[in-house]
Symmetry: C2
Subunit: 333 residues, 2 copies
Amino acid sequence: MKKQTITIYDVAREAGVSMATVSRVVNGNPNVKPATRKKVMEVIDKLDYRPNAVARGLASKKTTTVGVIIPDVTNVYFSSLARGIDDVATMYKYNIILANSDGNAQKEVQVLNTLLAKQVDGIIFMGNNLTPELREQINRSRTPVVLAGSVDPENELESVHIDYVAAVKEAVSDLIRRGNERVAFVSGPLSDAINGQYRLEGYKQALKENDLVFDVDLVFETDSNYRAGEMLAPALQAMSASAAYVSDDELAAGVLNGAKDAGVKIPEEFEVVTSNNSKLTEIVRPQMSSITQPLYDIGAVAMRFLTKMMNDEEVEQRTIELPYGFIKRSSTK
Amino acid sequence: MKKQTITIYDVAREAGVSMATVSRVVNGNPNVKPATRKKVMEVIDKLDYRPNAVARGLASKKTTTVGVIIPDVTNVYFSSLARGIDDVATMYKYNIILANSDGNAQKEVQVLNTLLAKQVDGIIFMGNNLTPELREQINRSRTPVVLAGSVDPENELESVHIDYVAAVKEAVSDLIRRGNERVAFVSGPLSDAINGQYRLEGYKQALKENDLVFDVDLVFETDSNYRAGEMLAPALQAMSASAAYVSDDELAAGVLNGAKDAGVKIPEEFEVVTSNNSKLTEIVRPQMSSITQPLYDIGAVAMRFLTKMMNDEEVEQRTIELPYGFIKRSSTK
DNA sequence: CTGTTAGCGCTTTCAT
DNA sequence: ATGAAAGCGCTAACAG
């Protein structure tokens, strides 16, 4: 498979200059006489020359590509972040290598390593379970990493996210104040810091603030998908929960449809509040009330943050908190 | 930003062999005495050596990365394909550079060029509007390209997809046979071959086969998103359509919800059939009947196909057609 | 089975 | 403002 053949050398010869000069014009170095620049440009055009990024990467030790580790592109929450990442990456002339990890620690380490082998200039990590091994690999490499849409409980890594504790606390308090004394906490794996440490904490704080006692039977840990939510309906009823805070939209859609299909009236008999305000919230009936967070922006800001780090610019804080909000729809009274 | 420092040379010295030998063990070349291989492995481990993929790429002219041009990762249809692609890419030790194009011809050309500059070994293209310029760029490069989830009307490029004409024809015929004489054809841009040439053709064939005459007023061209579908409800009623075939699930969810919210009984008064059988079909109420197609597999097969091309293996046909199906849910009688 | 030697295509001092 | 030359880290003949 023969690939591109014409090199900087061909251009140089054809233009009657040295390759150094060609390199200069290609890289926008000002130290080139306009006339020669013009000449070189013409030849480049004529020969349809396209600089070999690999050679460039080897010589300059910069690949202008960043790695993006994502649990699953198929999940809108993550793909929204990814879209924000890609857009600003493009804006800054970077490309992204996208790798799915399924949130699996072993795959994450593996992927991280191949990304480093490919000499990416930086990495954006979406995941919520920073194992010690992963941390070590990250630290050993001198490659900048920023977390998007998740938090580092150890506060070692830079990250951008919202204040999950406060957001959930607010959402749950709202539910309680409206008379719900048994609010369920439905989430994906509690081993993920975002669920087990932040969201759950917000839930507990809301309880405490409203003089309610924490009942572990109201905590439902499951997979973050539609089916899992649907199947949760009976259990929720069994614990006589009258409302639920759910950590994921797809999961919430399942909870809602599961309850509804079982004849439960929503929101009269059961209220549900979800977390990501994705399109899904408007597609189900009744439409779901939700915490709102700027997913696209989280990705975009994370990438912007990374460009600064890659550029060795000083960054003020290692953590960027974006604002969250709340939108009332029909799944709550 | 200092990156990894230890090179193949360090390993060679430390192990008391030549770099060629180290290269051999790294690449699994059998021509190495087990003892030396072992020794080298140990040193690699001890030094935590990780081959520089960029240097490798330059020397071998293979980057083990493929470019993936996608309209929008945020759309489940495409992200499902992407997931299939990434999984088999990983399986064959490739990484993917993911780039969003928004289906915009200009961006597509631009992205294609940067991908080629990065020396990707192959490209998977998702898009339905192969402009002449794009074709030319593709042809000029000697890089293999395969289309995933779309068809090349000119039949110049390799591709994997389902038989859109037959699938739509079947779905629409079904609608007609059940008594619907005014079936709407609702789709995204007709300029996309998949819609304007294939799906529409299937629709027309179904009409003809059932002795119905094609009425252009029943063709609704719009954006492929939820909101667009929702807003279509009045128009659909105005044309007194009693059923609709919709080219996209999100769009279909909008059509369905829009009609329902306007008081139309589904499926009694209005039936809808959609195209991709994504999760969405089960999340809306009533759940939607849909053409089924193996999205993940289309991506996976496309990537597998590409590995063969990159490997200069003979490929039987330039087009792979995967089977489609039909699932009856509650949005049709 | 192992070592030597050229590059791969480009960036980057260092001279001039 | 421009050129010469030395690599970047690795693969791939070619010897031996």
